[in-house]
Amino acid sequence: MLRIFGTRKTNDGLLDDAVRALRDSARNDAATLSSSARGAILERSVRAFDPADATPFRTTPLWKPATAAAALVVLTAAMIVVSPFQGPSSRPVELIASKQGDQIVFEIRDGRGPHQVRKSTDAANFRARPVTVEDGRFHDRAESGPVLVFYKVD
């Protein structure tokens, strides 16, 4: 039976119409996460990924995802920093990220250097030629958009 909206309905009909209206609107609802939330999820997931549950993240053998400098909520682009593997006796690497104008600036505070920094959009492949950082400080253009950018520092 074709119902005309606004006419008197049975309670069942009213509920069915309301459900249909909500379902239709939900179908057109294109809610998305903010890029900062997306970046935070990926960063925290990479960090919290339980190796007992599954294969560890595929990275180069001496590398694992860093815990520092990845919550780049100040950035419009989501980025993840991949830090050197830390052995039991090594000092933890402190990575500080900040946005200055259209640049993202990283400071590596581990008292060592120089460092080699590579950039990639694929955490499993860092093929680009590394940039040598002498003073523990490097910068890059802060890109916007949903693409994740990974940095590897050694």
Binding site: L14, A21, L22, A26, D29, T32, I41, S45, R58, D122
Partner: protein, 195 residues
Amino acid sequence: MSPPEDRETEDDRLVGAAQDGDVRAFEALLLRHEGMVLRLVRFLGVPAPDREDVAQEVFIRVFRHLGRVDRSRPFSGWLYRVTVNAVQDYRARAARRGAEEAPWSEAVEVLAQAPGGDPEEHAGQAALRRRLETALARLSERERAVFVLREIEGLETPEVAWALGVSSITVRRHLGRARDRLRSLLRDERKDPRH
């Protein structure tokens, strides 16, 4: 939109890649499902300011325990389950804080409107949605979850049962109660001259 079976196949491929440690596959899964998770979090009554936090919690749980995914079942079913659990935990935390749940109809912004059509009908549809939203907020947590998954998300009864960790009989019972209660609430609202 691709057929459900194609989506499931692609989800399964991405889950497999993510289980092997492919971060890009994680990202692709996130992008494919964030809309559904946000929508469900919303329909389950999480106020707007907290929805993104709850959605973050959902995906972190998903990715943390991805190795446990039963790949004989659709990934989306597991995601529904994790989302419902995360909302329940959120509600428990909110209750401990003594926070009041925001009335859904007030917390919800204007829902997306299909393009075109009669503006008067759109207004009528929007009013009808708001009435249902208000009524849904008055259901029990379990009744609301069953109703939203079955009637709004369109899951089959066994899928709802699996997502909620209950039997199909329980789903049907809660769905019946939810429908009765919603009918009653919509009827009462119609009698109320303020509406």
